[in-house]
């Protein structure tokens, strides 16, 4: 084994270590566990399942429906919709939740009437049902772009020929959708949906704000409320089990049904014309997710900004913005470097061990930030006992945690581009006796400039928005825009929280525009 392979295995193992520690420590005894298991676990699991199920159904309907109309139909305003439909991605779930914070207050007259005329218990039941419903709708309107983007990409790749052949066979639009588009985009739907589920499971602040006790909330309470690492680890194991079962299901479904990739150029994409009387309806259907997922929260935040009175020196917002950009930049550069190097080694030397271990290292994205934080705390206690070194509470510790969580985010674009663009030329380079360093810097790096930039931007956005991990592991007196927003909301300073929230959106906005434009052109 050469030094490249050895280095890659070492890095990948280090990244997997916190996840391994959670699984390994599943059986640690805890005094609180009996109480949690008997009184809370069922509630945590029920809430998690309800939210995940509801969000899955609704985000699939919104994502697939909008992708179908804007990609395969021809109507006025289609191009604008195609772009604005991804904008909800710039808004983290917790910020959207804050923006809709007073929605329940609108229903107060109804609850009052219900309490007086029906009864308190019934009112509470309806209230809690409505809270679940609101959270599901809220999450779906913010997270559907994952399904939308995945299905749109699949349609751009193969939809053209499918639609052309269906039109020539005389199939009406609704039959094309039901009989061709839905089955052929199933793998894309599953891929997008699994991301939606991961993001839903990862959320801490939004569900906490609405008072829903999910497994993630349970982990936070065990650690922050009771300082009970063992219970937090046990709850994390339950969540990991849940995540792994989703990943396995996804793999089985996607393994059986691959993309029906019939070559078709998007330049000649035959779109289905929308009849005049339906144009308005289609436009409204596609515009609604944008309104609820982006426009309303954004406008509300802007309005709050006008009401708030800022004193930049007091709020320290410049320093916090600098912290956010600094930590996001360091994390994205380090993560992209690691993803690029391991992918290169995997592709170039085709080593089986590197291939297998790198698969473990990218599991982090499917595991909620709170769990990763617990794993890193556990790792920290081992390192501290053995070497008397603390990794948490430092920028290094935080960047390492982001690495565990977001390596997969950088991994996917780099891996697919390397496979597509560099597989054959890396072989050519080897048989021409060039050294691996020459191949890395003279061929792979210049060719993959764009995918590397895209990977770095995606990680940058994710780190800038990240909350649970940062909240637990940040260095003392170190705030990011996300944690600062969270703190302000906890102090009920809604107006003041608008500036950091808008800054998070502002940081994400240009990056998402660039990523969308580049990936769209390359399909």
């Amino acid at each position: 084994m050469n030094s490249w392979n050895f280095l890659s295995i070492l890095i990948a193992l280090m990244i997997f270590l916190p996840i391994f520690l959670i699984i390994y420590n599943f059986n640690i005894e805890s005094d609180n566990w009996v109480h949690i298991r008997e009184n809370l676990l069922g509630k945590y699991i029920f809430s998690t399942l309800c939210i995940v199920l509801g969000v899955s159904v609704l985000s699939t309907i919104i994502g697939v429906g909008s992708a179908w109309y804007v990609t395969c139909h021809d109507f006025r305003g289609r191009k604008t919709l195609e772009w604005i439909l991804i904008l909800p991605m710039t808004i983290p779930t917790y910020i959207a939740a804050y923006a809709y914070y007073d929605i329940l207050e609108l229903l107060n007259p109804f609850f009052n009437w219900f309490r007086i005329n029906i009864g308190i218990n019934e009112t509470m039941m309806v209230e809690s049902f409505l809270i679940y419903l609101i959270v599901i709708i809220l999450f779906s309107f913010v997270l559907y772009p994952y399904v939308y983007l995945s299905v749109r990409a699949s349609l751009l790749l193969s939809g053209n020929r499918l639609i052309e052949s269906a039109i020539t066979l005389g199939l009406p639009s609704n039959k094309i959708f039901k009989k061709l588009i839905l089955p052929s985009t199933k793998p894309a739907i599953i891929a997008g949906l699994s991301l939606v589920i991961m993001e839903t499971l990862n959320d801490y602040a939004a569900v906490e704000y609405f008072g829903i006790s999910t497994l993630t909330i349970g982990i936070f309470r065990s650690w922050f409320g009771m300082y009970d690492m063992a219970s937090a680890l046990k709850l994390s194991s339950y969540l990991i089990l849940f995540v792994f079962s989703i990943l396995i299901t996804e793999k089985i479904i996607r393994g059986k049904e691959r993309y029906n990739n019939i070559n078709g150029s998007q330049n000649t994409f035959s779109k289905i014309p929308v009849k005049n009387k339906k144009i308005f309806l289609v436009f409204i259907l596609c515009f609604t997710p944008f309104i609820f997922g982006f426009l309303i929260p954004f406008v509300r935040l802007l309005t709050w900004l006008l009401y708030s009175s800022f004193n930049f020196e007091d709020m320290n917002i410049v320093q916090i913005s600098f912290n956010t950009i600094f930590i996001s930049l360091i994390a994205s550069l380090s993560i992209v470097c690691i993803a690029f190097t391991i992918n290169f080694v995997k592709n170039y030397f085709n080593n089986r061990i590197v291939r297998k271990i790198s698969e473990l290292a990218i599991l982090g994205y499917s595991i909620p930030g709170a769990i990763i934080a617990i794993g890193i705390l556990k790792l920290n206690s081992h390192i501290n006992t053995s070497f008397n070194i603390l990794i948490i509470g430092s920028v290094f510790g935080l960047v390492f945690a982001y690495g565990v969580r977001f390596l997969a985010v950088a991994w996917q674009p780099i891996q697919s581009s390397m496979k597509k663009q560099c597989a054959s030329i890396n072989h050519a380079s080897r048989v021409l006796s060039a050294s691996s360093t020459t191949s890395l810097f003279k061929i792979n790096l210049p060719i993959l400039r764009k995918p590397l930039l895209i990977a770095a931007l995606i990680v940058f956005i994710d780190v800038a928005k990240e909350l649970p991990l940062t909240l637990i592991l940040r260095p003392f007196n170190f705030d990011t825009l996300a944690t600062y927003t969270y703190d302000l909301i906890n102090q009920a300073q809604f107006f003041q929280s608008s500036l950091p929230s808008l800054l998070i959106i502002a940081i994400s906005f240009p990056a998402i525009y660039f990523i969308n434009r580049t990936t769209r052109n390359e399909l």
Binding site: S424, H427, R430, L432, S433, S435
Partner: protein, 327 residues
């Protein structure tokens, strides 16, 4: 010299190479022919070091590069590979591509000569995407030869080229390889390409060698129906119907001896040339005029399936007409 000894290779449970052995002398140009999935590209990748076989050994110029305990990586084999998709580096000009290989800078004279022979002087400062498939193919060939490899391996070198370019490039490849006395192994599914370039053809199927011989030998005396069919349509007639025939004999899967006659070996019967020939009479089932030839399907009662023949005659023949042909 290249020696492959009892090589096995699996992809999962699928056995791709099944104890394959072969030996190629220095300076020889050998084509490995087979249908897709026959194992020919895997053999090439194993020779170049891009794949590792499960067992068996490989010697290149008397050096063991692959055995149970030895694996020499591709960059140390001095064995270059021309890829089917050419694999030119898109971020480099054609000239930079040519001089990318280790040691190519020391072979400037040879490289200049190669550039001249392949007539690519005008595109040296262009990038791959600015050039045609034929130009890219020639640059890929020069790039591989620029390192002065002991062995050059070529994966379907002509498959992406149109008909006219194919003949031109195949002649050029053959000339260049012979000029520098490089050992060459060319993988192709098209036996006609193989015949144009190589001294020797190896036909493989399911990871084993079916036949190994000169192009003439394989064309005239295929060992089985499968090998015979690589050259296009052909007729197999049971030997028992014409026991006196002196045509080449192949054996069917159940070992039945069959006479092997190609469609263009037939001609209309004439008494004076018929001595020792196989004579068949039948009714014309279909006839089609293609260029100057008549393509005929002949229904002969004793022979199944119908005989396919190509006649170069000016005479008009009609469906239903009974004719006598000989081969």
């Amino acid at each position: 010299m290249v020696e492959v000894i009892n090589v096995f290779k699996y992809y999962g449970k699928q056995r791709v190479l099944n104890g394959l052995s072969l030996s190629i002398s220095k300076g020889e140009i050998v084509s490995v022919v087979g249908s897709s999935g026959s194992g020919k590209t895997t053999l090439l990748r194993i020779l170049s070091g891009l794949e590792i076989p499960e067992s068996g050994s490989i010697n290149l110029d008397d050096v063991v590069v692959n055995s149970s305990d030895i694996f020499i990586p591709p960059e140390k084999r001095n064995c270059s590979l021309v890829f089917q998709d050419y694999a030119l580096f898109p971020n480099m000009t054609m000239l930079e591509n040519i001089y990318f290989g280790e040691g190519s800078e020391n072979n400037k004279e040879i490289v200049s000569e190669l550039i001249q022979v392949t007539n690519i002087e005008k595109i040296l400062n262009k990038y791959p995407h600015e050039c045609s498939g034929g130009e890219q193919q020639r640059v890929a060939l020069v790039r591989s030869m620029a390192t002065q490899p002991n062995v050059i391996l070529m994966d379907e070198p002509l498959s992406n080229l149109d008909f006219h370019l194919k003949s031109k490039i195949s002649l050029m490849i053959s000339e260049i390889i012979r000029r520098y006395r490089t050992t060459a192994i060319i993988v192709t599914h098209d036996i006609m390409d193989a015949m144009k370039i190589s001294d020797r053809i190896i036909v493989i199927d399911n990871g084993i060698i079916l036949q190994d011989g000169s192009p003439k030998e394989i064309y005239e005396s295929p060992i089985s129906k499968l090998v015979a069919r690589y050259f296009g349509e052909t007729n197999f007639i049971p030997l028992e119907l014409f026991p006196e025939s002196n045509h080449h004999i192949v054996y069917s899967n159940d070992k039945e001896p069959l006479i092997h006659v190609r469609p263009n070996q037939f001609q209309l019967f004439s008494q004076e040339n018929s001595k020792g020939k196989l004579i068949i009479e039948g009714k014309i089932k279909s006839v089609k005029n293609i260029a100057s030839d008549l393509h005929i399907l002949l229904d002969c009662q004793d022979i199944q399936p119908d005989i396919y023949l190509i006649l170069s005659v000016e005479k008009e023949l009609k469906i239903g007409q009974v004719i006598k042909v000989m081969a």
